[in-house]
Amino acid sequence: MSVAQIANGTVPAAARRVARRDPTFLVAVIAFGVISVVALAGPWLAPYDPNELYVGPLNGAPSLEHPFGTDDLGRDILSRVLVGAAASVFAPAVVVVLSTILGVGLALAAAWFGGWVSGGIARLVDVIFAIPGLVIAVLAVTIFGKGLAAPVIALAIAYIPIIARLTRTAAARELAKPYIAALRVQGVSSPAICFRHLVPAMIPIVAAQMAVGFGYAMLDLAAISFLGLGQQPPSPDWGSMIAAGQAGILAGAPEQSVFPAILVVITVLAVGIIGARVTDWAEEKER
């Protein structure tokens, strides 16, 4: 999507309005869009096999054949960054989707049933909150072994409190509104009120929280890979590449660490901006 396209109207009017009023948001959406495409198409975009050794010199500087240079084993860094995008982007997405399903489910149950169910869920959420996400992930790795699977499930559980507390508050506020009472008086069944009215009303708030949570999940999972407990060699992801490149920095070849690091920062920045805007919209709608 170029500036010219925006000007001559090949993009919808709404997008043009956004572009004029909020260029930062537009840049963030485009950046995230590009990264998502790369995450999907990485293996087809990569010029080399990401795991093939000695396709170039060891710790080679950026060149025409290897735009991002080559790593300590002579692998093409650009190819590894492109292929590694899938694990780096989809793993946090899975974390966010899982924790949203679990968190919203628990919050709805708490708001709906109240009483001891609500109390028990609140206690459960408190206990999960008391264990830092990194600790839950490390415990999971110790039990189930290294790799991304255990940390993804562990973080999905670790993020439940954030989602559940927010949704619980929002659901309670929504349930207190007169239209819910009106529906009840009309004899609309409880599940129908819940799924036709309550859940749709909370979508904006939950969506905003998902965008914010995606950023956290990406940072946490990249950290776990950086610590050597996530994605295992030779498969690349950005966190493990940053760790593997640390020796290269001291040898005067920072490319292996720096390029994936830049991508982590850009992705988290883009998602953060998108999350902040969606939060603003959700709050405006609430008023």
């Binding site: 206690r123 408190d126 206990v127 008391a130 264990i131 830092p132 990194l134 600790v135 490390v138 415990l139 790795v141 110790t142 039990i143 072994g145 290294k146 950023g215 940072l219 990249a222 950290a223 950086f226 610590l227 050597g228 407990l229 966190g239 940053i242 760790a243 490149g245 640390q246 920095i249 001291l250 005067g252 920072p254 660490s257 720096v258 690091a261 982590v264 920062v265 850009i266 988290v268 920045l269 953060g272 901006i273």
Partner: protein, 317 residues
């Protein structure tokens, strides 16, 4: 019993209950492994003697509740069990490493409070340009995780400029501090940005409130309005966030420790997890969770003391 005492006792009770439940979660990890012997042996092929030793040491023939109880009471008394990788008591692994983590966290806390709260105050009080600049910096800062800052610092300050050491913890007070500067900065950046935003937000909310307008109209000096009416009212919220942040630092410290080769409990936790050394992972996790919960409770209580109305449902005793 007044509201504050009741709050303190209530929070203490809640904290203890949370800690006990969390310790159960951590202990139950040993059940999830399916075969506890294999997990406890830490990947080593269990010989009959080792199996016997593990059975005896972990009382595997006892019911699980009794095992949990022995583990917990042992941990409280300083008996942390024995690592199956290092073959030494866990306490001898954790003890010497805890100091380094504590020093790193304290230095990081100092940076977070000075730069986080400081820039938040500047953003809230020094006009639009300063506010915008700090907002841009904190947006970037919130996307700069410890491991990214760490490799950038190593690249620029350790490798290119050679101002700071890259690896290890140093000897003696000043050398230690020297070795901890870059790790502390890498750990602090993201949280400085976060604390700065919260500080600014709560200060701005106070600055726009009616009681501040009233104070201004009454001719109370600006400095006094800020100190007594704005900062004091905003401080419980700032403290709550700073408390949670600092509490989480002990766990997050692992990333800085690994990046800079510091032998703290965080890097011990990571090494133990990589080798499936469950006894070490469980004790360090229990330690980190205890620190996290206690510090959160302390921050909560300090907020409650500064602003009793925030906990007593607005009642005064």
């Amino acid at each position: 019993m007044n509201v504050l005492t009741r709050t303190v006792l209530g929070r203490l009770g809640g904290m203890l209950l949370t800690l006990i439940l969390a310790s159960m979660v951590i202990y139950s990890a040993v059940l999830l492994t399916g075969d506890p012997i294999a997990a406890l042996a830490g990947g080593a092929k269990p010989t009959p003697e080792l199996v016997e030793q593990i059975r005896a040491e972990y009382h595997l023939d006892d019911p699980v509740w009794s095992r949990y109880w022995q583990w917990l009471t042992g941990a409280i008394q300083g008996d942390f069990g024995r690592s199956f990788v290092y073959k030494t008591p866990v306490v001898s692994l954790v003890g010497p490493r805890f100091g380094i983590t504590l020093q790193l966290v304290l230095l990081t806390v100092l940076l977070i409070l000075v730069f986080g709260v400081g820039s938040g105050i500047l953003a809230a009080t020094r006009g639009r340009v300063v506010d915008r600049t700090i907002a841009a910096m904190t947006s970037l800062g919130m996307a700069l995780p410890t491991f990214v800052v760490a490799i950038l610092l190593i690249w620029v300050f350790a490798k290119s400029l050679g101002w700071f050491p890259v690896y290890g913890e140093g000897e003696g007070v000043w050398d230690r501090l020297w070795h901890l500067v870059l790790p502390a900065i890498s750990l602090a950046v993201l949280f400085i940005a976060y604390v700065s935003r919260v500080t600014r937000g709560s200060l701005v909310a106070q600055l726009h409130s009616e009681h501040v307008d009233t104070a201004r109209v009454r001719g109370i000096p600006r400095r006094r309005i800020f100190g007594v009416h704005v900062f004091r009212n905003a401080s419980p919220q700032i403290l709550a966030i700073a408390g949670t942040t600092i509490a989480g630092l002990f766990a997050a410290s692992a990333i800085a420790e690994v990046a800079f080769g510091l032998g703290g409990i965080g890097s011990l936790l990571v090494q133990a997890a990589a080798r499936a050394d469950l006894p070490v992972v469980q004790i360090v996790s229990l330690l980190l969770v205890t620190i996290f919960v206690v510090l959160n409770a302390v921050a909560d209580l300090i907020s409650a003391i500064i602003d009793p109305s925030s906990v007593g449902g607005g009642r005064t005793s």
